[in-house]
């Protein structure tokens, strides 16, 4: 299937990913809530266009504000960004940690359906309202609560991915897999140090490898992961515009400042079932393949990838899901520096979910913005030189244990 019309992304803006690691974060003091982040990200987008009233509709992605913040009906928070959004259409979408990808997709669908030319898509999560042990309960909603929560681990999602790491240890050898997981953490922090909004931006640890290699503590946490293998608990928001050709004109955005979504794919898998092969991300792979097919590209045409690394092991399995290497080869790819900025598949250049942070409902939008930044030369200290013969970027936005996934292939619009 091909896209019937061109769809663009532009004017992205994301906030600092706030939480442990940031110098200004103090869990004992009152902190900004949902509205603060929604307004900061939304206004950051609108400030990039001369007339904010041209926005036709809004989409807001969020996972669990109803529990983290006791707030539902989020669509109606969008008018707090700008008075012109009052009485316009607004829709909230949810797909666990993949909510952001679904938000971009929802904006696209509206443009493709000729319902809107300019869609403000925003993703937000404010998670530091509860301690991690209670946050684990809330995030467990991304699994099948009825059949899995009672028998599940105190740290529900880390345990799923700890099991995946354990399966990879068995299949490919613990030393190689563990080394790759640690290297993934090191790369994430090194990348985050180049992105001022990243949660690990202030990380000054000299020996990151030793830190990332901290032995797991099964009594206090899970069997095969340490806390450095995990994405951050974050507060923040990200927002962008999804536009039609007419939308570019209405907003006055030049093509050199926009990217085109040339392929998308989305897949879900049965949430009530555990993965057949814990060492692969089959749903993510299916979504990516659809996006490649629509874009008419192969993995080697990608300049870089923004993958969903909720845990270090996930990041590595994602490299395999992108098809850049075969199943089982991701560990060597990471260990040999293949996912670093100078590697064959530069990945997560602002730090990913482990380095930049993971405000769950907003992450897919943040990933899309980082694609836009790279492909329009706006990525600051983490800017890559995008070669003309490899002009594409990839986003994989995953929800749950590889259950709700959307993937996008983007390239510069100019």
């Amino acid at each position: 299937m091909r896209l019937r019309k061109k769809v663009y992304v532009a004017a992205g803006h994301y906030t600092v990913s706030m939480g442990t690691g940031r110098k200004e974060f103090d869990p004992r003091k009152p902190r900004p809530g949902l509205e603060h982040y929604i307004q900061e990200a939304g206004r950051g987008v609108l400030a990039q266009i001369p007339d904010p009233t041209v926005v036709d509709e809004c989409v807001i992605s969020n996972f669990m504000a109803a529990r983290f913040n006791r707030q539902g009906n989020l669509a109606a928070l969008m008018p707090t960004i700008h008075p012109s959004l009052e009485y316009k259409p607004s829709t909230r979408v949810e797909g666990a940690c993949g909510s952001g990808g679904l938000g971009v997709l929802t904006g696209m669908k509206s443009v493709l359906a000729d319902l809107s030319d300019v869609v403000l898509v925003l993703g937000v999560e404010v998670q530091n309202t509860v301690k991690a042990i209670y946050g684990a309960d809330i995030l467990a909603g991304a699994g099948h609560y009825a059949s899995q929560r009672k028998s599940g681990h105190a740290y529900f999602f880390p345990a799923f991915f700890s099991d995946r790491a354990g399966a990879a240890f068995q299949k490919y050898g613990k030393e190689k897999v563990r080394q790759a997981m640690t290297q993934w953490f090191v790369n994430a922090v090194e990348a985050a140090r180049r992105c001022p909004q990243a949660q690990e931006y202030h990380n000054a640890t000299v020996d990151l490898y030793a830190l990332g290699n901290t032995p797991p503590s099964p009594q206090a946490f899970v069997d095969n992961l340490n806390v450095f293998d995990c994405s951050k608990v974050s507060d923040g928001a990200a927002a962008l515009l999804v536009l039609s050709e007419d939308g570019l004109k209405k907003t006055g955005i030049a093509k050199k400042d926009a990217v085109e979504i040339v392929g998308w794919g989305t897949s879900v898998a049965d949430i009530t079932k555990l993965p057949e092969d814990p060492t692969t991300l089959a749903t993510s792979r299916a979504a990516v393949q659809k996006a490649y097919a629509m874009a008419g590209i192969r993995p080697k045409d990608l300049a870089f990838a923004e993958v969903h690394d909720c845990f270090s092991i996930t990041g590595i399995l994602m490299t395999e899901a992108t098809g850049i290497c075969a199943p089982g080869e991701g560990y060597d790819l990471v260990n040999s520096g293949g996912t670093k900025p100078e590697g064959v598949m530069p990945s997560n250049l602002s730090g990913g979910l482990i380095g930049y942070g993971h405000y769950t409902g907003g992450t897919g939008i943040r990933q899309t913005i980082d694609n836009w930044r790279q492909l329009t030369g706006k990525a600051g200290d983490f800017q890559l030189k995008v070669a003309a013969n490899r002009p594409y970027g990839l986003v994989i936005s995953m929800g749950g244990n590889d259950k709700t996934v959307s993937a996008f292939v983007l390239r510069g619009a100019a």
């Binding site: 301690k131 042990i133 209670y134 684990a136 309960d137 467990a140 929560r149 009672k150 028998s151 681990h153 105190a154 740290y155 099964p218 009594q219 206090a220 946490f221």
Partner: protein
């Protein structure tokens, strides 16, 4: 009676005090977890928490609840398994709440000493007063079963004497927790000659169950911890009195406190430690030690004078430090008591700079306690520092070297007089109970101290 049976009916006497509340928490945690053991299903557990003051017991209830929340949050991985068969408890929050409620349900808060009658093990943490302890233990002996074991949290009073005078027949052991008991890992275990062997076995197991590192001490007043601390404090006070002529009393307190913290790389200076323990508690411990240890003057008229002025130190219920030799604001030292004026001299740069100058500079190799405590190779860094200190000709260095020498003498004396079995036990108490980075019996300072 086996220990698991004893755990089913435990009591704490003086439960609302600084030490008693921590002991109550440790027991509540242990008993709460034991109650969840499948082998204990259907069994009744009871933790009787007795104190004289109703209001303080209300505070204890709040303290236990708050601390049990923290404990349960850290133990959730295990608690989920313990509550696996409770289909109504699904979320971490539900399991944590259930554990807190189930554990608080064990506790009976009471002001009636008679409530302890059925206890199989009783932990006592009342005032450091032998007559009071003997009186209470006599009552407990009369009301409790002849198989009840008693654990006294004394830090100074000989166990043998309490046991003899209360007629406990070897059912008393010294169980000296460090403050705060829920946090500090060290426990001095003191058995008297008549202490029953099965009690000592149980006491060691209980200490391990409560997560404590046991160091045995001989039944000599003050044991190892206060045996060192009190003599170390008296040395500091003597140095202060000698310096007071030149630098004034407040200046001397300031200088000796600085030397004993910064120059010796300890977590607190000696006067801050006295304040932390309480000037009143120190006076009490000195009295006890002086009463039972012959041939030494374990007494300080300065401590007595401070008490006469009503300067007592110690902590408030919220754990913040009360003023003593030093004045504190949010934990920081902001003043030094002036004995002549009966008020605090503010520690500001214009006042302290000449005193710091008189002490001289610290050697370049110096690292503060906090930084050094995080270093892996402490030994090499300490060696380099003390070598530099020995070659430094400043008043601060001289005071520090004399202090180190005296601390070592005290440690060696504790071994020689049989209070501690080995130098490692003395060092172990100072490392684990006082958070020193090196034991007093060390080879860091070899050279003779200059006059």
């Amino acid at each position: 009676m086996d220990l698991s049976e004893r755990y089913r009916n435990a009591g704490v006497l003086g439960a609302a005090g600084k030490m008693g509340s921590g002991i109550a928490l440790l027991l509540a945690q242990e008993m709460g977890m034991r109650k969840l053991n499948p082998a204990a299903r259907g069994q009744r557990f009871k933790l009787t928490l007795m104190d004289v003051n109703d209001e303080a017991l209300d505070g204890l209830r709040g303290y236990l609840r708050a601390q049990l929340v923290r404990f349960a949050e850290k133990s959730t991985v295990a608690l989920r398994q313990h509550y696996a068969d409770r289909s109504d408890l699904v979320e971490n929050s539900e399991i944590i709440d259930a554990f807190i409620e189930d554990t608080l349900d064990l506790a009976r808060f009471t002001t009636d000493l008679g409530s302890l009658a059925g206890c199989h093990i009783v932990f006592e943490a009342i005032a450091e007063n032998i007559d009071l302890k003997v009186k209470i233990y006599t009552q407990l002996r009369e009301m409790c079963s002849p198989e009840t074991f008693f654990f006294t949290n004394t830090s100074s009073i000989p166990i043998r004497l309490i046991d003899e005078r209360a007629g406990l027949g070897g059912r008393l052991v010294g169980f000296h927790f460090y403050n705060p008991p829920a946090v500090q890992k060290l426990l001095e275990l003191i058995s008297a000659p008549q202490t029953r062997a099965d009690l000592v076995v149980d006491a060691k197991q209980i200490a391990a169950d409560l997560g404590k590192k046991v160091i045995p001490a001989h039944d000599v007043a003050g044991f190892i911890g206060n045996g060192h601390f009190m003599r170390d404090a008296l040395h500091g006070i003597a140095e202060t009195e000698a310096l007071a002529g030149t630098h004034g009393f407040s200046g001397a307190v300031y200088m000796v406190n600085r030397v004993s913290q910064d120059w010796l790389i300890r977590p607190m200076g000696i006067f801050q430690l006295i304040d932390y323990v309480g000037v009143d508690v120190c006076q009490c411990i000195l009295r006890v030690m002086n009463q039972f240890i012959k041939g030494e003057q374990l007494h300080s008229s300065l401590i007595d004078q401070m008490m006469e002025r009503g300067v007592r130190g110690g902590q408030r219920a919220d754990g913040s430090q009360k003023d003593g030799f030093l004045r504190y604001e949010k934990g920081a030292i902001t003043g030094v008591y002036d004995l002549a004026k009966g008020e605090y001299q503010a520690v500001d740069p214009t006042w302290s700079a000449p005193l710091d100058q008189a002490l001289g500079k610290l050697p370049a190799e110096h690292q503060p306690w906090k930084g050094l405590s995080r270093e892996k190779d402490k030994d090499a860094k300490l060696k380099a520092y003390f070598a530099a200190l020995a070659g430094t000709d400043t008043l601060g260095a001289k005071l520090a070297l004399r202090y180190l020498k005296r601390s070592k003498e005290i440690g060696q004396h504790l071994v020689k007089s049989g209070v501690a079995a080995t130098p490692e036990d003395v060092n172990g108490v100072l490392l684990n109970g006082f958070y020193h980075l090196y034991g007093p019996i060390n080879e860091y300072v070899q050279s003779e101290v200059r006059a």
